[in-house]
Each structure stands twice: as C-alpha cells, then as structure tokens.
Symmetry: C2
Subunit: 233 residues, 2 copies
C-alpha cells in the first residue's frame, strides 16, 4: 500500500437493490442495459436517491446556498479519522445520543481530536444492514430508533476541534428519533460533510487512520452514494 | 495535503445531464426528489448507465465471469500513475493510435513504467467535453473519431510492465473508429480496470503521481461513474 499506510479497506457497503433507504427516498434500481451476448458488453442502468447506500452529503443537502456536491474541493474528500466505539452503549439503548462527556472520555484515552478530521461513530448498526427493518428500527408509530450525534457535541466538535466531517454506521448522523436533524443542520456548512451508512469501522484504529471519500460529483447535488476507503496506519 | 503529496486534484468531470454518452447508453438524468422548502432537505434522484461521465470499468464489463465492480479489492483503486502526453499527435490526427514506439520514447524520457500503475493518455479531447458532438466526433457514417490505445501497446504494457489500468481523456481507451474494442478486451481481466472520460491530466506530472478512483461499488456492476483524484508529488 502507498503513502506509508499498511493497508486500505472499504468502509462502505456495496450498492444493491435491497438497501435500506430513508423513508420517502427513491429506491435503488439496477437494471440490465447491455449484455455481453447482445451488445458485446455488460452494462447496467442505475437509479437512486443521492443519499442512498453508504453516502456523503454536501452543505446544500440542508443549507440553502450551501456548497453543492460539485462545489467542494478535492482535499475535502481526504480526512484524518477518529473512531468512537459506542457499541456497548448502543447495545443497551438503540436511542443512544453521543454527548460531550463521551468525547471527553475518548480524548482522555486517545488524545486530542485533530483539526480537519472526520469523527466516526461506531455503533454496530452496520451488522443490521441486510435487514432493513432492523436497521431503521421503526416502532409502531413509525418513529425510528437508531443512535446518533447530539447537538451539543456536534457544536463543540465544530467550534472547539474544527472537525470537517461526522460519520456513522447508521442511516443518519442524527438519532433516528429526532426528525428535526439538528446535527445535520449544525454540521452542513462551509465545506463540512457527513458520512452515513458506513461499515467496517472496526478496521480503523481509534486514531491515526484516514478516510478517502469517493462517489460522484453531481451538478448541484446534495451528495452521493460512495465508495469510502479507510487507510490503516 | 496528506501522505507527503503537495496537493490533490480532480481528474474527473462533474456528472451532468448534458454529458456525452457512448451511443446506445442510457442518458444521465438528475431530477429533484426532495426540496428544502418542502421535505426540509435537498435531494435528487439520479439515473445513468454505469459507464457515464468520468468512470471506471471492472473486468465484468467485457469478460464473462470477470470480476464485477463489487469484486475488486480496495487497493485496486489506488495506483501510481504515468501520463503520456500525445496532444500534438492528436492535433494532427484525431484517429491517432498509441503504439509501442510511443511508450518506448516515453520511457527513454521519464524512466521505466512501474508495475501496478495506471497509464494515462493525455489527448486533449477533454477540452471538447461540453460539446458532445465534437467529443464523440462522428463522421457522416456514424463512425467515431477519437484517439486510443492500440492492441500491441496494450498487450505489451500488460505483459512487460504489469500495469493495472489504462486511462484516457476521451470516451474510451479504444480508438473511436475501432468498434471491436481490442484494448478493452485485452485489458479487462484479473483486477485491471479502465478509466475513461478523464480530465485535467495536465495537473499530474509525467511520472510520480498517483490516482485514487472513487465512484460506487454496484452489485454485479460493470463499473461506475466516479470522482477520480490525482495526487501530485
């Protein structure tokens, strides 16, 4: 592997038609458009919402006039990453909300969160990916129950640590039960992005790794499904 | 910038509805699916063929049983890159076909092509991107006229230099006039990929740069439109 890292890993799911999508979002469609036995080559037509599968969002996703997917800089997609393992807490409470105390404990153990980094919350929900009902975890009223970043810690990470991204292995950086999206509304400005529906976060160390965010730059887009790579030191 | 490189650059076009597509391929569609003033957030539905825009192809694009988009390894998307500037030749002849002598001259000037690298052909056709008719450059009979890699040099680069990818700033690594796709048929096996419709190749040095290939991993896919990054030493 290049650059002095020991290896590169996938932190993204394969895009597939069964993928859970946020309620109301377009489905993922993958249909044959050309075949080796006919046209001479294999090709799909693919259709999805911009926030399908493992994906990122640009500020324009929530912020009128915010930078769209095609208005970010190349370096915005290369970020140091820290991983906050909250699997035990989420095992007790799927509505777990990350707070400032959790980050203070993380820094006591692993050091100060570097400026310009992506803070990745490892909840364990990626293990539910192939069961969309368990992944979205809706109750009888339709309210979703998965963990996320609280507004206090989101504001603190932006103001005190100058982070560039929040990421999580659930459907959203906001807790499923909070339909006002405060973490997204605080985060998505300037050139900050979110990373959602991540997987394989256990392959990265708590600190010292990097993320490289692929996907597409769609004209005026809100973001894109993406291959997300992790660089392991 | 990380990893000892001086900067990261885009080598990919923004995906847009006007984009030239290979004859017969599905069009690129970008339509509103949610709006900040209505649903609270901005989101498009997006539809395209897997070889739309700047894109890569997996072996399954031409090879029955070849590795599909979701069967490649993470490191297959990180490659050292060399850039072969053939703009002057293409200026004289849009049907220019790269041959073994051209690569021999490149190696005499810049050194041996390293194993596992991506050989990127800089034709200048990226300047025609916003004019799809000029980019495809079809004659009255429908035959396309843009430059590409010949079969001899493709075979030599695979066998003698163990390259991992061919890339070009035209619609295809095969010359437009050759509808039997010999370069694709030779290249796309094992874990080798192509990169097509690149842009901005002048930002990379002739040798010493790297490419990082984004996009999506689509289940059973032939490849994907992609953000392609260049790492400049």
């Amino acid at each position: 592997m290049p650059f002095g890292f020991s290896r590169v890993v996938f932190l993204s799911h394969v895009l597939d038609t069964f993928n859970p999508v946020f309620p109301g979002d377009p489905p993922v469609e993958i249909t044959p458009a050309a075949r080796i036995g006919h046209e001479g080559y294999h090709l799909h037509r693919v259709s999805f919402g911009e926030q399908a599968g493992t994906h990122w969002a640009a500020p324009a996703h929530f912020l009128t006039g915010g930078a769209a997917a095609d208005e970010l800089d190349p370096a915005d997609f290369f970020r140091p990453a820290v991983v906050v393992d909250v699997r035990a807490r989420v095992g007790e409470d799927p509505d777990f909300v990350l707070g400032p105390g959790d980050v203070a404990r993380w820094e006591a153990a692993f050091g100060r969160i570097p400026a310009g980094c992506a803070v990745l919350m490892w909840t364990g929900f990626a293990d539910r990916w192939r069961d969309p009902a368990a992944y979205l975890n809706a109750d009888e009223s339709g309210r979703l129950h998965y963990p996320g970043f609280g507004p206090e810690v989101t504001r603190w990470l932006i103001e005190q640590r100058a982070i560039a991204a929040l990421g999580i292995d659930t459907m959203g950086i906001d807790p499923g039960a909070d339909t006002s999206f405060p973490a997204n509304r605080l985060l998505l400005a300037d050139h900050r992005i979110h990373l959602e529906n991540l997987t394989g976060l256990g392959q990265l160390p708590s600190a010292g790794g990097w993320v490289v965010v692929g996907g597409l730059r769609i004209r005026g887009g809100s973001g894109s499904p993406a291959t997300v790579f992790g660089l392991v030191p």
